[in-house]
């Protein structure tokens, strides 16, 4: 049996995802928008990430969603699809999209939780449609990934230096 199917993202799809994140950031007036997979891999960001450690943010967001999903199951819920963390200056809004993705919005007083929630819902639908389209193209394109272009020797050589 094979391990779970890998996620492969091609440039053209990435651009569409990136555009949706940018739109959401602009419409909500949020500081940052991140799209993360539930495994903690960062897929796209929008906004000025500056010195922010985006890798850690993605991992902890995924850990946060995973832990609260565990809590949800304990009380008989499927999952908590929205999490909101309120800070003194900045707030975090995390929401799950499909089985695999987490949309993270970082925002401050220049916008409101209500607006963020409303527009996140709208963007989530668009992202769902986009990922359904990406997944439907999958089978044909995965024949030609980076792993078909390299050899086991290349892998061995990766650690020889």
């Amino acid at each position: 049996m094979m391990l779970e199917q890998q996620m492969v993202l091609f440039e053209e799809d990435f651009e569409k995802i990136q555009k949706l994140c940018q739109e959401l950031a602009a419409e909500t007036n949020a500081k940052l928008v991140f799209l993360v997979d539930k495994n903690g891999q960062l897929i796209a960001t929008s906004g000025d990430t500056g010195t922010m450690d985006t890798t850690s943010l993605a991992t902890l967001a995924a850990g946060n969603i995973a832990a609260t999903s565990g809590l949800a199951k304990l009380i008989g819920e499927k999952e908590f699809s929205i999490l909101f963390h309120e800070g003194e200056r900045d707030n975090l809004h995390l929401s799950t999209i499909t089985e695999r993705l987490i949309l993270v919005v970082v925002f401050d007083h220049r916008t409101s939780l209500g607006l963020v929630r409303l527009l996140v819902r709208k963007s989530s639908r668009k992202l769902e449609e986009l990922f359904a389209e990406i997944n439907s193209k999958k089978g044909t394109r995965e024949q030609n990934t980076i792993f078909t272009e390299i050899t086991d020797e290349d892998i061995d050589n990766l650690f020889n230096d």
Binding site: M1, E4, V8, L9, G40, T59, A66, T145, I155, F159
Partner: protein
């Protein structure tokens, strides 16, 4: 579940260090963190209790060179080893691409090793994965301690599948990178096999 990003030209892989409590999983990651150049690794996150026991997970992102023009990035996680953090362990194991099982060589920790190994199999099975289908390696840690069991005996007890095994003293870094490099290679070769249709 590996993530191959053609836009950033990155291959992202998830590795999990599993094993009994106080076996040296966090020590492995700390050593890797200390000995790698700052430009090849990110920040190490330790979600630990006040007594420095892992509460949820440790995390270390690591760049390990280039393959066919793609950066190979490994996300290293540890699980909390203590028995009662079972739910957290299961969460961390989800979508794993490769595992390092860090066994404690001391005779008094044999039951804990076996219990943890069983626990890992159970959690993988809950995700529909058989241990023999996951790329994994075995590390016998704490070889320097006086009550360390003979390596051959450990192997007979803990490694029935005959996966690659390493002796280690993680506090001194012995065996740490050998373990990491081997599991990394196995994982990448397995990914390659999946895409080229080999070994089916």
């Amino acid at each position: 579940m590996a993530f191959i990003n053609y836009s950033s030209r990155e291959i992202n892989v998830k590795l999990v260090y599993y094993g009994p409590g106080l076996g040296g999983k966090t020590t492995n990651l700390r050593y890797i963190f200390q000995k790698t150049a700052p430009d090849t690794r990110g920040r190490m996150i330790e979600l630990a209790t006040e007594t420095e026991r892992t509460l949820f997970f440790d995390f270390l992102p690591l760049a390990m060179g280039k393959l066919g023009g793609f950066s190979v990035r490994f996300h290293l996680y540890t699980v909390p080893g203590q028995v009662f953090y079972d739910a957290s362990r299961k969460i961390i194991l989800k979508d794993v691409d490769g595992i390092v099982f860090v066994a404690d060589s001391q005779i008094e920790r044999m039951d804990a090793n076996l219990e943890s190994l069983d626990n890992m199999k159970i959690h993988l099975a809950e995700y529909g994965i058989r241990l023999e289908d996951v790329p994994w390696v075995m590390q016998y840690n704490k070889r320097d301690l006086p009550s360390a069991v003979d390596a051959a005996e450990l192997s007979a007890m803990l490694n029935p599948f005959g996966v690659p095994e390493f002796s280690a003293v993680a506090t001194r870094g012995e065996g740490v990178f050998e373990t990491l490099k081997t599991v990394a290679k196995i994982v990448l070769k397995e990914l390659r096999k999946q895409y080229t249709g080999g070994g089916q």
